[in-house]
Symmetry: C2
Subunit: 425 residues, 2 copies
């Protein structure tokens, strides 16, 4: 056996030990009452605040190490400061105040033979979260998993390794102080890339994998995982301006959907305008966007109305810019808009602006996306905006959970059947 | 390019064309009203009855071809006769009468900013079903998928190839007569094993894979699939007889759970008896089983009470016999019973017999299975017995759908958000 093989064996053994401890903790957590989980989450917030200096020192270590290799934008994502540490603690308090989804009776009925059947919400078990550089995800994701009674195995970005270690140390101490098993929050203790592959293969110890990051990470996880994945693919979000759209509403929604924040998954990437409204609506909409510093890439009809627009290529219809760039196409009415969205989109979030109730109903029905909106900005694609308090991401899975994934979506159910001696004829 | 490569290319092209047609049909089906799907299902039942002679002739062809290579039990599974064809038609009528799950509002709420958010049930889309020899699954599975507005791609056992072709021909004609796209039901037109691998890779055209069959099929599908799987793993089901169990109730439930039908997934495979009740309860329970022709494989304590019991080995605790064999262990009370079930079981269906409400509550809570029962036979693990009308199997997935999978479980949801011009601050 070579040294490398021995190291891989050691890593595999360590990873299985860590996941096995999480599995044990999950079976304890599953029956901890709501108020004790709430207390642990409040304790975790207090611990993060108390350990601010240590967390910032660890983050400074990460920032120093990353300085040469990361872009300014990536460095900003990695950076923690007083305000961001405070926001992490506040986030845990928000999650602590969320209702506990565990134990809810989702349905209950009695059969003619007297069997009483209930479908009851239970935790998922052990959740593996694989994410990229933002260290605050460490606290956010752990908090949401705990709220729903799950243990979590965190594999953060290698750039944020020390920051995440410091955050997890605080969380573990808070759990122990609150009388909960500290093994409920586990951080993969290595930057070895092989550890990710090992996680994806431990179907006996991990119940679901949640990847958060760029397309290549998600695709690798989907390709390699032997464990079900709650995936958050890109958001190729559309706004369709119908021929009956109120112009001021359309201007406000398009500008917000694109420019409020360009780096979020709910940001619009493509604008579709009904040909019948193009001459009246498109120039003022594009004027707003140009004024806000947005680059326009249009089809030929768009460019005929906007000399400043660059030509759009086929690739523009499938690109998540996450930037101040918008692809614009003029379509022959509602049917073509729906066809475009279902063909080029990512089934994430799409909106129609219209005053025609029939057109709205058809759009909401036929656009095959997790979230469809009538006369509202695509940037509402967010668990907080949906009233879930917090989210771990927007699932683009077809099977549930789909759309924003909050505490409730990190659960599953079991059937509890109560009889009085019934046997099956 | 070799001849074999060219053939593989041809097959891949045919499979993608077939799945693409199913995808198109699914988008039509998704918006067909309930009554038209009901009419199509009734037409399908009538077509099966009308085509009885052709279906039986095709089945005779399959039976002839299989004669030399299959066991008597397998041949019986493959055989169709007048009664079985009639049962297929009746099964479609039962499904036709089920409520249409599509369009149900699962939740609806209004946000402080006035956004009206609804979570609405929609079809899953295209469902790939991979199953073994019983040809009636062809009609049952297609019916249930249609009820929930899904298109289906069926890959039956190669032994039932001609039977399935005849059944699908009837179903397609009924769909066309009812004005629905016949492409909503597709049968893989080859016995080539490679076709299964191709199905498992078409994540852009198939939304979910449902394997029905033995362990090796399920494991192959789980290993190879790039598409989410609703898996039905084996049922290592337990009955635990608690120290407070009523003896007559325990006798009735154990005998039924094991012997009513031994070949179903909800059949009990292991009996656990509380040591405090072993001397009083175990001998009469085992006497019933011996009288019914059941082989007993017991631990040492069981064999001390039953000289006819064979010794159980470690493998017996994890074997799905699907036969008149029962593994029996005497345990040190409830905690050890729960530990045994969670360790050796398959998280499918497990029952407790007790008169102690506290023991029942703890068992129902802590046994980590899709279905847990108090004082009822494990053989109630069945969609029909749950009141779902029909089922495609019992899902042993951790994520939903879990437990019996009926029409409602073959759906997903989308969020419909209605606004009046809201933008996100």
């Amino acid at each position: 056996m070579s040294v490398l093989e021995r190291q891989a064996d050691d890593l595999e053994r360590d990873m299985r030990a860590l996941a096995g401890a999480a599995r044990q903790a999950a079976s304890v957590l599953a029956r901890i009452p709501a108020d004790r989980k709430t207390a642990a989450l409040m304790a975790a917030a207090a611990a993060i605040r108390h350990d601010r200096a240590a967390i910032l020192a660890a983050n400074a270590h990460d920032m120093d190490a990353a300085g040469g290799s990361l872009s300014a934008a990536m460095l900003d994502r990695l950076l923690l400061d007083d305000k961001r540490v405070a926001a992490m603690a506040q986030g845990l308090e928000v999650v602590a105040r969320l209702p506990d989804p565990v134990g809810t009776e989702l349905a209950r009925w009695t059969r003619p033979n007297g069997l009483d059947i209930a479908r009851v919400r239970i935790p998922l078990g052990v959740i593996g979260i694989i994410y990229e550089s933002r260290p605050n995800v460490t606290a956010d994701a752990a908090g949401l998993c705990l709220r729903a009674g799950n243990a979590v195995i965190l594999r953060g970005g290698s750039e944020s390794f020390h920051s995440s270690q410091a955050i997890v140390a605080s969380l573990k101490r808070a759990l122990a102080e609150a009388g909960l098993p500290p093994e409920a929050v586990q951080l993969v203790p290595t930057r070895e890339r092989a550890a990710v592959g090992m996680m994806l293969g431990m179907a006996d110890l991990i119940d679901v994998i949640v990847p958060r990051g760029g397309r290549s990470l998600i695709e690798r996880v989907q390709r390699e995982s032997r464990i079900p994945v709650i995936a958050h693919l890109e958001g190729i979000c559309h706004v369709y301006v119908d021929r009956t759209a109120d112009l001021q509403t359309a201007r406000r929604i398009v500008l917000n959907a694109k420019m409020r924040r360009t780096g979020v998954c709910g940001a619009a990437e493509t604008l579709l305008v009904d040909r019948a409204a193009a001459a009246s609506h498109l120039p003022p909409i594009l004027a707003d966007l140009h004024a806000a510093g947005c680059e326009i890439r249009g089809d030929a009809a768009t460019r005929a109305l906007d000399p400043a627009a660059l030509p759009a290529s086929e690739a523009d219809w499938t690109t998540e810019y996450l930037d101040a760039i918008l692809a614009v196409r003029i379509v022959d009415g509602l049917a073509q808009a729906i066809e475009h969205i279902n063909h080029y989109g990512s089934h994430h979030t799409d909106a129609i602006v219209t005053t025609d109730k029939g057109a709205a109903a058809r759009f909401l029905d036929e656009v095959d996306s997790a979230i469809v909106l009538e006369n509202a900005s695509t940037q509402f694609a967010d668990g907080g905006e949906f009233g879930m308090g917090a989210e771990i991401g927007i699932s683009t899975n077809r099977l549930p959970p789909r759309g924003p994934v909050g505490a409730e979506q990190l659960t599953t159910y079991k059937y509890i059947v109560r009889g009085t001696g019934q046997v099956r004829p």
